[in-house]
Subunit: 354 residues, 2 copies
């Protein structure tokens, strides 16, 4: 492992160096140390704070506008895909997509932009890939909330180098049916809770998901059974069945709207909300977001998966996802990124911010 990162060098080499420091969720100390040390050494113009395994850095130039850039340092577990490996114009390895390419772009920007047009805040954080209550950015939001404040949030999650705006919300509910146990030799004396779930599955099959256009971005919703359990013993009519359903909803709806919708879809059944996370409106009408989109020269699209963009949206900030790599490759063994996307993203952000 390198003692320090070369922040102002080739951002592709920088990505590879970050990939080669394993940082599975919960074990980010080494990479956080390296990021902190390199920033203190090569970006003396920044205010730098270390908090747990988060590294926070910002300019304090008194600009009218502040842009917040966020990147998590952790990865999903290693899957025989380390160290990094470059083949021609493609960099392979765990985290090349999710999201050390984005981290490298942020670090390069931090070190090489002492006089940006907007004040800049860089948030490197831990534990994004695991339970929401361990998310490092959530901890910073609670403990050091001023570090999240700004006029635009750019979460540098993989987005193929185009602006993926906002994000969809997610809600999980359990639909429960009940019945009456009986010996299967006298099944008519019971009421079968699994059979009763047939009607729920019928509604799921027939469900027509909304397609919603917001600020020119198309959000495609979904309603999927993700788990089903029921049964007592091989000779007993089951008296309970539980179906877990995950609904992904466009950010024009709140979690409460989504819940009301599900209660309508499953009218007549017992519905219990088990967890939810609000989506984020794209916020593309804000001047800062518009300028970023212009700098990319591309057309923004909707973010369908949930990201920490929603956290900033909940604070009232326009928030977008923008980073190198194909999000469909995230969490796969084959993660890889075309190197041109890494330098391309850095170039767009420099155009936007300098």
């Amino acid at each position: 492992m390198a003692d320090t990162l070369h922040l102002s060098g080739d951002p592709v080499d920088l990505t590879a160096a970050l990939v080669d420091v394993p940082s599975v969720s919960g074990a980010e100390e080494a990479i956080a140390d390296l990021v902190e040390r390199s920033l203190r050494e090569q970006a003396p113009h920044l205010e730098i704070v270390r908090s747990g395994n988060c590294v926070l850095a910002r300019t304090n130039l008194g600009r009218d506008r502040r842009v917040v850039l966020a990147g998590h340092l952790d990865t999903v577990p290693v899957n025989d895909n380390l160290p990094s490996r470059r083949e021609g114009d493609v960099l392979h390895g765990l985290g090349t997509v999710d999201m050390k390419g984005g981290d490298a772009v942020m670090l390069a920007l931090a070190a090489t932009a002492p006089e940006p047009k907007s004040d800049l805040t860089f948030l490197f954080y831990d534990c994004e890939e695991i339970e929401a209550d361990r998310n490092g950015l959530g901890r910073i939001e609670r403990d050091l909330p001023e570090w999240l404040a700004g006029d635009l949030a750019i979460v540098c999650e993989p987005s193929n180098g185009v602006v993926e705006a906002g994000c969809q919300g997610t809600i999980r509910v359990e639909v429960r049916t009940s019945g009456v146990r009986a010996h299967t030799a006298r099944g008519w004396m019971g009421v079968n809770a699994v059979h009763a779930m047939g009607e729920v599955l019928r509604r799921l099959e027939a469900y027509q998901a909304r397609v919603v256009d917001i600020d020119g971005c198309t959000y495609r919703e979904g309603l999927q059974a993700v788990k089903i359990t029921g049964g007592v013993a091989g000779n007993v009519v089951p008296d309970a069945c539980v179906l877990t359903v995950n609904h992904r909803f466009a950010p024009d709806r709140s979690p409460a709207d989504a819940e009301a919708h599900l209660r309508e879809v499953f009218d007549g059944f017992d519905v219990v909300v088990t967890d939810f996370a609000a989506g984020a409106l794209p916020g593309l009408r804000s001047p800062a977001a518009r300028e970023l989109v212009e700098a990319t020269g591309g057309v923004p699209v909707a973010k369908l998966g949930w990201t920490d963009a929603a956290r900033f949206a909940a604070l009232g900030m326009p928030s977008v996802n923008f980073g190198p790599g194909d999000p469909l490759l995230a969490h796969t063994q084959q993660e890889n990124v075309p190197v041109a996307q890494i330098s391309g993203c850095l170039e767009v952000l420099r155009r936007f911010l300098l």
Copy 2:
């Protein structure tokens, strides 16, 4: 615990004494010892063999006909329902119904009928309430098959003191659906195996079970989902779902017939047989069975649950269930038997056999 049982005394007291010797499946040694010792002492006219925790006893009088009586000595686990407790005309406690009342009737008959019209075989056996391959009667069938031979088998399982004829068969199948995994944020890229199970549940709901009359006994079939599982993670479209279905079928069908029927019902789906047991035809047209029915003075009914009667039927013997106690109370904490049924059953068998 008594050193010996008083076999020729009150069969209700004898039932209580048997109930008060705990004999959960796998722990029948004490009760088998007691039964063996009592028979050797009080029924010297019988040939007696001890095999494991089975006690076998028979007359060898050269009669034209042999009647086999069978009773298991084990019970389901104790559930705060020991020792026995008599309240007025009702005896309460674990095993009063399933099936120490029947065992007591058999023991009383064994000790008090040295000169029956038919030769008699008494089979007391272990491990009926657990996995089929540990069933003591199955072991005797393999090791000492001549002990099961006869012209009529009476399994003294609880039957409310009326003849419950034959028994239904049982078959379990797994119906499996498959799909394609995808992130629920992009659910349309996957195929949901749980949704696909909707059609299977629809067929179960619509299923019309046969009601079959054989020898005047009405067998009511059933088809019940007993277990369902599916799901990968809260954000993944499931690629597999497994539904276990239990079919109880009338004894006019073989397990192969029943399997063919289920393949028809679930046509288009992957169906795997996991276990089955053949039913038993009532065999009420045989002279021996007719005489037993006459002795009861009642009308025989179909046995819906599976019992070891099927084992004898498979050997070509007419086989019925006849014993004190309501089978619906078997395996419940509240097991109890009206004492008149115990002495009533003994009286019927004496009328039939002496």
